[in-house]
Amino acid sequence: MTLELTTDVLVVGGGPAATWAALKAAEEGASVVLADKGYCGTSGATASVGTGVWYVPPEPDAREAAMASREALGGYLADRRWMARVLDETYERINELADAKYPFPAGPDGTSLRTGLQGPEYMRRQRIRVRRAGVTILDHSPVTELLTSFDGAVAGAAGHQRQADRPFRVRAGAVVLATGGCAFLSKAFGCNVNTGDGALFAAEAGAELSGMEFSNSYGIAPEHTSVTKTAFYNYATFYRADGSVLEGAGSQRGRSVIARTLLSEKVFCKIDLADEAAQKAMRLAQPNFFLTFDRLGVNPFTDPFAVTLLAEGTVRGTGGIRIVDDGCATTVPGLYAAGDAATRELICGGFTGGGSHNAAWAISSGSWSGRAAARFARSIGRGTRRVQAVGGAGLRPAGKVADVDVAEVVRTVQAEVLPYDKNYLRHGDVLRDALGVLDGVWESLRSLESVGTASVTARQAAAMVAHARWMYTSALVRNESRGMAKRLDHPELDPLQHHRITSGGLDRVWARPEVVAA
């Protein structure tokens, strides 16, 4: 029996963006359903990793410095008006968290420190707040497709509840996609729920993407482990196997040196630039960073350990669903995008949003989209619309039906997007070859029919293939190096390409310079 629900606003996802969207939609008086693939409170990148937050007091000098800090790194694609909005909204929302008793630590002078959030604590509390706001939470309920009404507006979503093993359908006045970015099942910390599903759903409903070339972030982790927290590698030295220093390697600048070296030999690391006081403080700030070392029996401050780089794609990249107004609407009526599912170029440009911006964006875009979705739902009223499900690849075959090995599809897409010499150190020829392979697997997914739990994995595979195709198609349109979208065959920044790149399409993928409305 299908679980059928009707609501004003449906929020898809269960991380910070989703929970803020649900809270603010409920505050607007909307009825809200939140459906998460995993468990709202533990699922998503933030719940496991914790985040620094772009929390800057409203003092003109501090705000100016904050806005200027990443502008050049981002290739001047960010927008100051959006930065200012995000700084305002984040400041208010973080203070709201403090009022709701999130236990921010106190500095030496007793002031409350609010520039970061511990993941498990933050998201546990967000769940409680969402529940208290009267939101219906559906855990272990991955959405697999959107529903649209016959005028093309988004009118709900459908999926399959994994633990209850039953289909569900939620009719809604408006939908917020807050499904996170796409890390291609790389096992980067907390990221395996992030397979880019929202972008696929959005594209199927006719929405566009932006900045998909900014999709090659990689996090440092000890070899064969998952914790890609990277801040403390600022205190590290990187070495070759023979103990000599790997020149030019570093966490912030010089990560590509690590990538290049890893192609042919192991790279080792020691966090040997931290004094005893810093070492002690690190344990307090990031207990999760030390999980790996303590369990491996490694003292990271004195013992060299081998490192790897795990793909974080558009999680700590910045590309995502294109948004077109201050409420984070997409180009499709009734559909909103928030957090990593949406492009973060507006505040990051082409540079990573990790470290502070992404968290602030999740909070802000979540809040805005929740409010706007509630208003949209109110404006169309509660009458029942006739709806159709619009999921394609991996779900509903376009023509003939064929058996497809979904696990093999995942391995194929991973082989095109995880290797450093394909995605990190990009070259046009390599990207074109990869696209050939990816177009092939996409075509095979078009003949796959799936139901039940199998539809969840099939749709994840389709989302990853679609993501990879938008990424590389966009990267090929950017014939220069800007932000993280560097090209070995176009190593310079080209002032004539100072624009964002919009992309989209499913069977026929396209990318082109953004047309800015006059």
């Binding site: 914790g50 500095g107 998952s226 999980l291």
Partner: protein
């Protein structure tokens, strides 16, 4: 990856089954959780953090460990204090101070604020 469920310590509360983001566990016939889909484990330590009985151990490795590994030696994990260590470190559980309240780290630059996450 999740490697150990202590049947001795587990109180069969279903919490791990509920909170695992990638749905790795099922409830066994005896009411205790079983690791049904270890290959889906994303090594996020959430089950451990949420287990009220310190009955779970997640090894840091993203591949399964052999039977003889330390990760299956419950006595060793207890003796070394590793069992339940994540929950202790983030200050979850009765009578503990939330780790968030104490999370004052070093600054990443001389003029920067202390890192708190």
């Amino acid at each position: 990856m999740i490697e150990l469920i202590s049947t001795q310590q587990c109180i069969a509360c279903d919490k791990c089954i509920l909170v695992c983001p990638t749905n790795v566990f099922d409830r066994g016939a005896d009411g205790l959780p079983v690791i049904s889909r270890q290959s889906d484990c994303q090594t996020c330590f959430q089950c451990e953090a949420n287990c009220p009985a310190d009955a779970l151990f997640v090894a840091p490795h993203t591949h399964p460990l052999p039977e003889a590994s330390f990760a299956h030696d419950e006595e060793h994990l207890r003796r070394t204090g590793l069992l339940g260590s994540y929950r202790r470190d983030i200050g979850w559980g009765k009578g503990r101070t939330p780790g968030a309240a104490l999370a004052v780290g070093p600054a990443l630059s001389p003029s920067g604020p202390p890192l708190i996450s």
